[in-house]
Symmetry: C2
Subunit: 383 residues, 2 copies
């Protein structure tokens, strides 16, 4: 096996494949990158047990400056390969595998000799044989993920909650996540593939998979999605990301969402974020990381305290206030992340009482559940 | 005590004072910043046991927008004070200490209430009563420190070697450092103060002190230095840095420096740095972190290897070669740091034999010891 390629292109693709590779893997070969050289191009593969990324580098694309002298495949240590290729002196490199799996990488006056592993020892990726291909614009997909990823749990005790629940039906995509302290929901329109009209697809995609996808896709690219029983394949141009799905029946979360309220406020999300960020300087030092919001017709006060350091009071200027006076306590980190997920929009917050979860919706679409953040309060001795 | 000040100015000064404060201190009050308010301005003080930084903010300087309502002093928790002031909403803040040491910081609609400690409990700084003031231009001081700091030891076993040895005499400053594996020396001209002409001053300044000083001084500022028995005070504009000195007699290092050689090469420092950086990708994985340099009239090869990963050979293009063939092994990190300390200059390297230390000097000044890096080789089974 032997090929020559433009180094800067190779570096970029190696970086993307490396996203799938975990240094904590217990399967030694998965610390490597598989390089398969075909007549028409090169396939790079990296994987941990959840995600696999495959990138196809075509000979036809002249910008790759790819010339293939001999086909074959090899697995090379991922981290070193990346470090070496990044630092080679010239903008072209030749990679050649010798009889004993010794791999020689040449660039200018540098010659690296790496111990490789046979490509045939690398696990094969699952075959995705799906009926339908869903197409999602990159910018929309990113917005869905950024809105819901904050409520994904990092506790492995309930694996289902480490993912986002996707429902694709009725020409829309509904994404829901919850860690049982908070919940995020985002609904966007979706052009369903012809074969899937009238059907509903429900899957649970690992949060890690979604995070990697948002890093791989550009706003103006499309993501193609194909689903089988327990696997999903996302295709972005020449990049293929395979992921397992999380098994289990996601709980019905619709019953948690209600427009009922006893207190309703409208706020400038940015201004409230800044106040929360000041309050949590002190609340992070307290035992429970809790801040208190006191709302009345006269004033709105956000306060935080730490018995060691001191306390803070922030007077908020609300855009509107409606309903009963209220004192409610909660984790300020949750509110900060929820507010940030709305970007610069004004936000409406509906409260029922100090022990009932409260919901945030954008001011422009406040009576729909297209974009919701829900937060469960913390009961304090006073409530 | 009460004053109002421009927030952005206060943030900058707090950041500088915080450089002296260690979160690992065992003396609780030293986790705080002392704020002393006089009629004419404010003094901020931070300290660990080695370094103290004092900054004077004058009322006369109108850019400070400082107005003083009441004098006094207080100690506030350094980290929180910094975080809070950085995030306050307006560009002006008022700080007021109440009867019970409760300190109120107001800015816009934010009100912080911090538990303070009486300023009188803060340790007093040493008095520096020196005869002479040495003046060093900032850019020159930085060059001296950057050249010598690399050979400062981080091993507390020999405290003297954790500092740089300064000799101020005969209208020059000579700085030497060594960790016993390598040695750095830099000599620069110095305008001696009148009172010190004909005398010599030898002091050992902790490496940490010098590093902080390079961060505090701008190229076009002067550093004033005053020395007593076991303390040194550096003054840069309105910033005062106090440091203890390291005690002990620094060994005579002149005998280690010699222009004798059996092999001499001239190299482009940048090119060699890049080759070393590639070689150490592999040597860092080996047991001893060692690379080998093979020099002859015909070729110069730098090689590194790791039994697990593989090996690398770099063919170097020397600017000149003189003397005997040589094979010598050494720590590539030392060579990289030494080469970098010369900036973009061509460098001359003189070798005696594979077990004798070798020295680097700039090509333009190769026969002087004004700018020297010395590296001890590593004996390998072959040598």
């Amino acid at each position: 096996m032997k090929f020559t390629i433009k180094r800067s292109i190779f570096v970029d693709h190696l970086n993307n494949v490396q996203r799938a590779i975990s240094s904590r893997t217990t399967i030694p070969i998965l610390t490597g990158i598989k390089i398969a050289v075909l007549d028409s191009g090169i396939i790079l593969t990296g994987s941990d047990s959840t995600i696999s990324i495959e990138i196809y580098i075509s000979k036809e694309d002249e910008s790759n400056q790819l010339s293939i002298a001999e086909t074959g495949s090899i697995v090379l240590p991922s981290r070193f390969l990346g470090d070496i290729v990044k630092k080679l002196p010239e903008d072209q490199l030749t990679l050649e595998v010798q009889d004993n799996l010794q791999t020689v990488i040449r660039s200018g006056e540098s010659v690296f000799n790496l111990n490789g592993t046979a490509g045939s020892e690398y696990p094969t990726l699952p075959e995705i044989d799906a009926d339908s291909t869903y197409v999602l614009p990159g910018h929309l997909f990113k917005r869905v993920v950024n809105h819901t990823i904050i409520s994904v749990s990092n506790q492995q005790i309930r694996p289902l909650f480490t993912g986002v629940h996707f429902i694709l039906a009725d020409e829309q995509l509904k994404a829901v996540s919850t860690d049982s302290h908070r919940l995020s929901q985002r609904i966007v329109p979706l052009t369903m593939p012809e074969e899937s009209r009238g059907k509903a697809l429900e899957i649970n995609i690992p949060g890690q998979t979604l995070t990697e996808l948002t890093r791989l896709v550009d706003d103006n690219e499309d993501i193609e999605m194909m689903v089988t029983d327990n696997q999903v394949l996302f295709k972005i141009d020449n990049v293929y990301l395979y992921s397992r799905l999380l098994e289990g029946n996601y709980p019905d979360t619709d019953r948690l969402l209600s427009l009922d309220y006893n207190t309703k406020i409208k706020v400038d999300a940015q201004e409230l974020v800044h106040a929360v960020e000041r309050a949590l300087i002190l609340s992070h030092q307290g035992k429970n990381n809790v801040v208190k919001l006191s709302l009345s017709q006269e004033e709105a006060i956000l306060s935080g305290h730490s018995s060691e350091i001191g306390y803070v009071k922030e007077r908020l200027s609300l855009l509107s206030f409606e309903g009963d006076d209220l004192e409610i306590s909660f984790n300020p980190d949750y509110l900060r992340e929820a507010l940030r997920s709305f970007g610069g929009q004004d936000v409406v917050v509906r409260f029922v009482n100090p022990t009932h979860s409260f919901i945030l919706t954008p001011s422009e679409d406040e009576d729909e559940f297209n974009m919701v953040q829900l937060i469960t309060p913390i009961r304090t001795p006073g409530n």
